[in-house]
Symmetry: C2
Subunit: 309 residues, 2 copies
């Protein structure tokens, strides 16, 4: 995973991942109408709309970015048909050569964590057949349960050349309630960051970067600076750009001197760009073109911030 | 949710939840053969086997216990067909009058957490239709992201009379790596427990118990004693009985003086009982009867421990 991601970032000069988090309100009327005409106002209809919407976005941005990050909750809310749309989204993004990071934030223990790892990054044995359930390249993982929850993911990553991004410091306002608590004089997120470094040291790509990365919110740039040092060989997946308030200048400390080490996510800032003042001239029918323009603007914002640091 | 659970525990005299975590190795050959004959060695075949296995267990224990806890990872590993089996398991358990606790350990922020809450405890609006994605009565939630992750679940619980169990102190050996860290002189799990008490005070059932409960592992009885006091009105869902080493005598401090306040989960100890020495005479064809006997023995073990404290 990590070598493909690094190569993609270098080639496209874009440390950007597009969050495919399709809320119903982001999807233009004409797509909803078509899906409901075929499937009715059903979970199948919602799932069909989500998938068509995603394909339009992916077609418009796949030459600009190395990766996408579908947020599984936005599919799971449409039940079984939603999970089918998630799977088809993963497959479609693979056809377009993108690294797919499943934003699933799973976390459990032992054989249960192993089942999640198999579901998203591995395979299952059914009789003599070896089958791929969802098949992302990487996924996000919650660390609250400790090593017992992480190790089954490490095993699957090692075996299949996959990666994970472990939640360290999340982008939301209340993330500090537990993550910032001081323990032995250091905040908990720093302890989790140290564990990420340790877990990650077992699995490195040829690029020198580890397959095991971290999630650190763009909304906490100072903590990003500390965590960059704590985890020198671990990629940081940075949510919170755009809609949550993060800007290119907040992100410079997440990157190393070569402009690597971080990949910045934007979801609604890109996929719902057609509803923003800057891109409103694209219209609903130009929602994908608006997404493309938003990616280009984001790329410029980050490049300028990195150039002027 | 909570009043139905309390009434069920009282009526059946069993503070027991059966964990429906069907690993392939737990499923008798004759069920696998039948499923593979119909669907091949496919994800659909695995899902069909899981569903038939579950129905046998549920038929055999539904008059003895108030609740079941399907572990979604064990379904998710079989992809979209697995999620279909999860949904059908939930529906089947509802037909049998059981409270269904989805062991999903989800956790995210804002609209994403709202989407998970809708997926498992609520409904989604598709056009003018209001649809139920998975429809459990309660689910487990991971607290690492703080209040922003919990509040959307609270809103859905309030609106729909549902409940959640928040991970506080998990049953696994490495749970202490983060959960036991001292912060302001107290372990983190205690701080999380206090938050559970505070979140839960907003939503009480007529029984006086909150719709918001906690997960505390049977493997840490001393911590259970502390957390019982910290969360006097919050039910504790207790994993770790049986296969993970917990016994009735370890559990007495999780209960209040009336024998309420806790519900103890056993998964493989019940659903794979037919593979254990004690119940091997049931044979593979009697796997459901073995599960029934294991529930009766567990009920007795807990009742004796509570009587002799």
């Amino acid at each position: 995973m990590i070598d493909q991601l690094v190569a993609g970032i270098r080639k496209k000069q874009a440390p950007i991942v597009v969050g495919l988090d399709p809320q119903m309100s982001f999807i233009p009327e004409f797509i909803l109408d078509r899906a409901f005409a075929e499937h009715g106002e059903t979970l199948e209809g919602a799932a069909a709309a989500v998938l068509e919407f995603n394909k339009g976005i992916v077609d418009a941005v796949c030459d600009l970015v190395p990766a996408v990050k579908p947020q599984v909750a936005m599919y799971e809310q449409f039940g079984v048909p939603g999970m089918q749309a998630f799977k088809e989204t993963v497959d479609y993004c693979h056809e377009k050569g993108l690294v797919v990071i499943g934003d699933v934030k799973r976390g459990d223990i032992g054989s249960t964590s192993g089942a999640y790892a198999a579901a998203h990054l591995g395979s299952v044995k059914v009789g003599e057949a070896v089958l791929t359930p969802f098949g992302e390249d990487a996924c996000t993982v919650n660390p609250y349960l400790g090593s017992d929850g992480i190790r089954p993911f490490l095993d699957v990553c090692k075996k299949n050349g996959k990666g994970i991004f472990i939640l360290v410091k999340t982008s939301n306002p209340s993330s500090g309630e537990f993550q910032d608590k001081l323990t032995d004089g250091k905040p908990l997120y720093e302890l989790v960051g140290k564990m990420v470094e340790s877990w990650g040291s077992e699995i490195s790509g040829n690029s020198g970067w580890s397959e095991i990365g971290a999630v650190v919110g763009a909304t906490y740039p100072e903590m990003g600076r500390v965590l960059r040092d704590v985890m020198p060989k671990n990629f940081i997946l940075v949510p919170g750009y755009g809609a949550q308030g993060g800007r290119g200048r907040d992100l410079v400390h997440f990157f190393d001197n070569d402009g690597l080490g971080a990949i910045v996510n934007s979801s609604r800032g890109i996929i719902a760009a057609w509803k923003k003042d800057e891109y409103v001239s694209c219209g609903a029918s130009g929602y994908a073109e608006a997404a493309r323009l938003a990616v280009i603007d984001m790329q410029k914002d980050i490049a300028e911030a990195l150039a002027s640091r």
